[in-house]
Symmetry: C2
Subunit: 106 residues, 2 copies
């Protein structure tokens, strides 16, 4: 992940949007934000970490629920300002119990 860490363009709050996709089912599971610390934690642990804008702190996804996400692949977009992380989830991504946060369709 080192080369990616060096080219990311963070927004004015020091954050980068992260799309999380299930590597096996290809379902988009959630979108969250990471700062540099969260990305360093991801590199260190091989699991997803995010920065919660509402709680203003680093969160290890699944730390309480056990529903961690193992990182399989990290991709960066053409503008260097968005990440796509393919994961193997250990349980639902959504706090509602749904596999994905995108469970409501128009």
């Amino acid at each position: 992940m080192h080369d990616i860490l060096n080219i990311i363009k963070y927004d004015s709050d020091g954050l980068v949007p992260v799309i999380v996709q299930d590597e096996a089912t290809k379902k988009v599971l959630m979108m969250a934000y990471a700062n540099k610390d969260a990305l360093e934690k991801m590199e260190e642990t091989g699991e997803t970490w995010f920065y919660s804008r509402s709680r203003k702190k680093l969160l290890h996804k699944g730390e309480e629920s056990g529903n961690i996400q193992k990182i399989k692949k990290v991709l960066i977009d053409c503008d260097n300002d968005t990440l796509l992380i393919l994961v193997e989830p250990k349980g639902p991504a959504c706090h509602t119990g749904n596999k994905t946060c995108f469970y409501r369709e128009k």
Copy 2:
């Protein structure tokens, strides 16, 4: 799309992040931002429209390149602040000519 338009929580700039996924291949193609006007245009045309933060204007995806994206499905996340749009793309999503903007892997 009407019910979704009414529950979206826009950020302080009046924008909502939109993840675009290819309905057939399940590849995540790009992420961009929409405002209320862009969403109304999507509903009207059945194709993707975004708000460009750098150019400060509405953009019809593919208007110049011909690589429009036909909207097949619109989903909203549990927080009502992110959209996932499944599309049938008429060509590459990325200005580099790649099918997806996420073509570089760590």
